[in-house]
């Protein structure tokens, strides 16, 4: 038996070590960030912080949460995530349920939707449209344009298709309407699919930064990711271009770290609970025999 050969044992040991290392590599940068956010300025500029805080203090978090721009952009992000996910899920479950059935014109409609995944107007025409509709500087510019996602629709359609037809027919005979069937049978039974798609949309909204920068003319209206982009990335570019002293940039390091960490926390907290759903969701939605 191969399990007992020396070669397999050696491979096994290395494999365990390698996979554990791979897992850690995906996680250590965040831990480093957390350690920095809790460390003193002196420890950071002396490069003493690795994965454990040195000179523990909460100053960076106090400063982060007393920054009014940070707080207001966090509210914008929460609002857009709640609004955006609800609107998207409403549109997508309605259409997804309908398109999992056979009816006249179903294929044409499906291709009409899928075509949006293959071809788009692009950056400037979209910008001009959103501006033209008067959505600029409102939360709707962040919520409405991306509300429909063809990829998510496909996942949901495939999910609804896995629910046995007999259930629906029985309900029909008992006199249930389409809408009752959707809410009482399909939604509860396809919870893994709904959870998966909701998670994707939620994370998408929470992480979106470009539309904020594009459609908000004033930084005070930015969602959190756009705010971070200006703080973390753009300030770094300026440092590079102007070759300012490294020292000054370093002094802000713990605050930057705290801001990044706080903005990532909701995702880190939500996702382990949804993991079993999305793995199942991806596989059922994407793999078809």
């Amino acid at each position: 038996m191969y399990h007992k050969t020396t070669g397999y044992r050696v491979f096994s040991v290395f494999n365990y070590a390698f996979m554990i290392l791979a897992g850690l590599v995906c996680f250590l940068p965040l831990l480093h960030l957390l350690a920095q956010s809790l460390s003193s300025k002196a420890a950071i500029s002396g490069n003493l912080v690795s994965f454990w805080p040195v000179g523990f203090n909460m100053d960076a978090y106090v400063k982060t949460f007393s920054n009014s721009n940070f707080i207001s952009s966090m509210w914008t992000s929460i609002l857009r995530t709640v609004l955006g996910t609800s609107i998207s899920m409403f549109i997508l479950t309605c259409a997804g349920y309908a398109l999992s059935k056979e009816f006249r014109g179903r294929n044409v409609l499906m291709w009409f939707f899928i075509f949006t995944m293959l071809f788009s107007g692009g950056l400037i025409p979209s910008y001009i449209l959103v501006t033209g509709l008067g959505l600029k500087d409102t939360i709707w510019a962040l919520v409405l344009p991306g509300a429909f996602g063809a990829y998510n629709l496909i996942l949901l359609v495939n999910f609804f298709k896995t629910i046995p037809k007999a259930l629906e027919e029985a309900a029909f005979i008992d006199g249930a309407s389409f809408f009752a069937i959707l809410s009482k049978i399909y939604l509860p039974l396809s919870l893994p699919g709904i959870a998966t798609v909701s998670l994707f949309i939620m994370v998408g909204h929470w992480n979106s930064w470009f539309d904020g920068i594009l459609y908000m003319s004033d930084a005070s209206k930015y969602p959190l990711a756009s705010f971070l982009q200006t703080v973390v990335v753009q300030s770094n570019m300026q440092n590079m271009a102007m070759s300012q002293s490294e020292v000054e940039a370093m002094s802000e390091q713990s605050i930057k770290a705290a801001q990044i960490f706080v903005s990532t926390l909701p995702i880190i907290m939500v996702y382990p609970f949804l993991q079993r759903y999305f793995v199942k969701g991806i596989v059922l939605g994407a793999v078809k025999e």
Partner: protein
């Protein structure tokens, strides 16, 4: 007969949104054939035929952006297919369920971080006195490497960080495929005296092949998509020569410099070629792996 009108009603919201926000901007593509002036609008701007498209190949910066896009996207596709396959096979060889699940949870995580966050992490870690350089200096006694400011290294950094972020998520379908392999194949192979390596070569890999073909052909459609989010957050003027991709070039040339017509033309050029590639790749995936999108 069942009435199907409720099904049409259910599709109305999606239909309305798609018409406005997906098909609406396509009207704006007319700008690509115009010398577009925002104050004149599409109806008032001058038509200039294909001039904007000719400029794509006249401007060195634009041609360079196309070349950069191809190099970065193709490298990402190749590495992004091979690494998840290898990692999925290695992970499925772990027998300890606890360790397996923990590793899985950890490697999925980066997929859910935004590129802004990852860029923040990378700027922090890859800087001249960041963690990686400190480690390298201590271990090999070499001068600090400027990962994000060196044109020769920038593409490498982009590809590696993309793999770091996405390999865990890419593994999911391969892991599912491996889990679906009939155990009797392995038993038969073992009775025939196959070593574990031989079992991987002659049972696991061939069983994964249809999925590998589907993923590879479908990724053909991304050949002009080098990842705006990532490059935009990582690049800086020092590395424009190797790191500027079509999408970032469109952003800078149009929204920042006001060349709306030209920017739209570059975007249309990219979308057009991508559309052709995607259609071809779906055909191939259907022909060789019997894959249908819905």
């Amino acid at each position: 007969m069942k009435k199907s009108w409720p099904l049409y009603v259910l599709c109305i919201p999606a239909f309305v949104f798609v018409c406005i926000f997906s098909y609406g901007p396509m009207v704006g593509l007319l700008m690509a054939f115009q010398d577009y002036k925002p104050w004149l609008g599409i109806s008032g701007s001058r038509w200039i035929g294909l001039d904007n498209f000719e400029r794509i190949f006249r401007y060195d910066e634009a041609t360079q952006a196309i070349i950069n896009t191809l190099i970065i996207a193709v490298s990402k596709i190749i590495v992004g297919i091979i690494v998840p396959i290898i990692m999925a096979i290695l992970l499925s060889e772990l027998r300890n369920v606890g360790i397996k699940k923990s590793v899985q949870t950890l490697v999925y995580l980066p997929h859910f971080l935004s590129w802004v966050t990852v860029a923040g992490l990378m700027i922090n870690i890859l800087g001249l006195d960041g963690g990686i350089n400190q480690m390298l200096t201590r271990m090999f006694d070499i001068a600090p490497i400027y990962f994000l400011g060196d044109p020769d290294l920038f593409r490498f950094t982009v590809v590696v960080s993309d793999v770091w972020k996405s390999f865990g998520f890419g593994m999911i379908v391969y892991l599912a495929t491996i889990a679906g392999i009939n155990p009797s194949y392995y038993e038969a192979a073992e009775i025939d005296g196959a070593t574990r390596r031989q079992q991987i070569m002659y049972v696991t890999l061939p069983s994964m092949l249809p999925m590998i073909i589907v993923i590879s052909t479908l990724s053909l459609g991304n050949i002009l998509d080098a990842g705006f989010d990532q490059v935009f957050n990582l690049y800086n003027p020092l590395v424009y020569s190797t790191g500027d991709i079509i999408d970032t070039y469109v952003y800078r040339s149009s929204l920042l410099n006001g060349q709306y017509g030209f920017g739209t033309a570059v975007g249309l050029f990219k979308s057009g070629i991508s559309l052709i590639l995607i259609v071809v790749s779906y055909r191939l995936a259907y022909k060789y792996a019997n894959y249908k999108i819905f």
